[in-house]
Symmetry: C2
Subunit: 305 residues, 2 copies
């Protein structure tokens, strides 16, 4: 199953040339999920061919402008481009008021249902659960109410061993039951155990999105053993005081968190505008966690292989 | 005196690749004025080296998102970049509520005074008047309350005829009075008429910004004889019905308006996303008004020569 993330924005509070505010498009089994939506996200989607019509769920971590100011524009463009299917926004309660006020003053009546599910920064909650994925909020530690999001791929059906099935002439009608783990009973009454005809599907993959937050062990348990951890890394560690003061993380801390939580891979982003190049941030995170990459605009990362 | 406009965005309601929503930076005597501020304007300013710190006045025509959704992000970035001098926003009254709500929920207390002057779409009003420029609102005809803006350069002081002054040994102390039009009385009592020692300064230049609007003669008189007319031209004339229905203008109509109001030059913009190339729009406007240019992102146009 496809499970990958495309970076649409990697900058922190103020944009700099070629770095946009935070937004990511997750592709899970060819359904798109947008995570945060900083100013200019719809333009970035055009640039990197992320189709708005394929997005049904948008997750907003918190109400600092660099994480949501592109939302009203995107919602309006979906309307103008003829959308009729529902769109669900997951985020802090005031987001509804902010969006509805702006639609009211532009005298826009959306042609499609805009649904809201409010996040609660005090506890981890399951906020979406469908056949492909379950999504939980991650309570983070920022200056204002903020949650990350944990995307857990659903366990897939068992894989058929085609050679074995052909050798036994198992009829196609039984394949669905075999994928679900049932045994096969041949016409002569012989019982074939399921695990002789199928193999287990691969372990479900997980993606944790942690931004914005300072280093706080409270959320480490929830994100342990993820396949890909996205963690903010706003500053170099020589600015740890500033990171603590503004409730952000340093690149070194992001590496340490990946190490402590046993992440398979780490992706760092939300870079301060003071860093014109990003090599030092990458080197610092890699010094403790080598499997680290930079969340660069336009790059797509597979969640697992 | 410098008087020029840099285009930051030329698209209408929905952005397309390489065309951003509306925004323009006017440079009048090295002071910057921002006219409209669609989503992504601060990124466009970075791209085209328009310094936010040099902007003290922002004019918003109306509350369709493509004309103001970049404003909160720009206001926030000015704050984060250490601005302390006042910023004045001219626009419809609800804009104050929209901005203040978003600052409240992001728990941002601006370090600089943010001032509002409300526009009234029912009448032309002088809303700014300083040593360089006077700005009037232009009541336009759009689906929601909308005003354009007319920028009138102030009449400059008279120009000194240096050769004449040197020949008569006129002391420097008299130059300021001469520039203001006073006569010069020499020590021997001889009176030299001002117009023998100075010449009139060039005619003040004017820039009219008309977006969004449908064709309506009501505003033609106010914009007559401008040096540079920016007029929206959302559609080709074969979509005149759609233009009327959505209260927009066609490129042909924009050309006709420039002709009827005796503009020196015409700049067209606010192009519908349906036009992947713009030549047809330009040709159509030029068919009635040859002195027409396209408002392309990143281009700077002098207001007069």
């Amino acid at each position: 199953m496809k499970f990958e993330v495309t970076i649409l924005g990697s900058s922190s509070a103020t944009p700099i040339f070629n770095r946009n505010p935070t937004a990511q498009a997750l592709n899970i089994n060819d359904r798109l999920f947008l995570v945060d939506c900083g100013e200019g996200t719809q333009q970035q989607m055009l640039r990197f061919d992320v189709k708005a019509s394929r997005i049904d769920h948008i997750f907003i971590s918190h109400l600092h402008g660099d994480h949501y100011l592109g939302l009203v524009g995107l919602i309006s463009s979906m309307h103008l481009n003829g959308r009729i299917k529902p769109l669900t926004i997951y985020g802090p309660p005031p987001l509804k008021e902010i969006i509805e006020m702006q639609l009211k003053f532009s005298e826009t009546t959306l042609q499609y249902p805009l649904l809201f599910k409010f996040t609660d920064p005090t506890k981890a909650e399951l906020i979406l659960d469908n056949q492909d994925v379950a999504v939980e909020t991650i309570p983070l530690d920022h200056r204002i109410a903020c949650t990350g999001f944990l995307f857990k791929e659903k366990k897939r059906l068992r894989k058929l061993l085609k050679d074995k099935l052909e050798a036994l002439n198992v009829p196609v009608e039984f394949f669905s039951a075999l994928k679900k783990g049932l045994n096969y009973v041949a016409p002569d009454g012989t019982v074939y155990k399921n695990d002789t005809l199928t193999t287990d599907s691969s372990e479900p993959k997980t993606y944790a999105y942690c931004s914005d937050t300072m280093y706080n062990e409270a959320y480490f348990k929830q994100i342990s053993n993820v396949t890909l951890l996205y963690h903010e890394a706003t500053f170099l560690n020589n600015m740890l005081d500033r990171a603590n003061e503004t409730h952000h993380t340093t690149a070194l801390q992001a590496g340490e968190i990946a190490l402590l939580t046993h992440a398979k891979r780490l992706l760092i982003g939300h870079f301060s505008a003071r860093y014109k190049t990003l090599n030092e941030l990458l080197d610092e995170a890699r010094s403790v966690f080598p499997e680290t990459e930079l969340a660069i605009e336009g790059k797509t990362f597979m969640v697992g292989s």
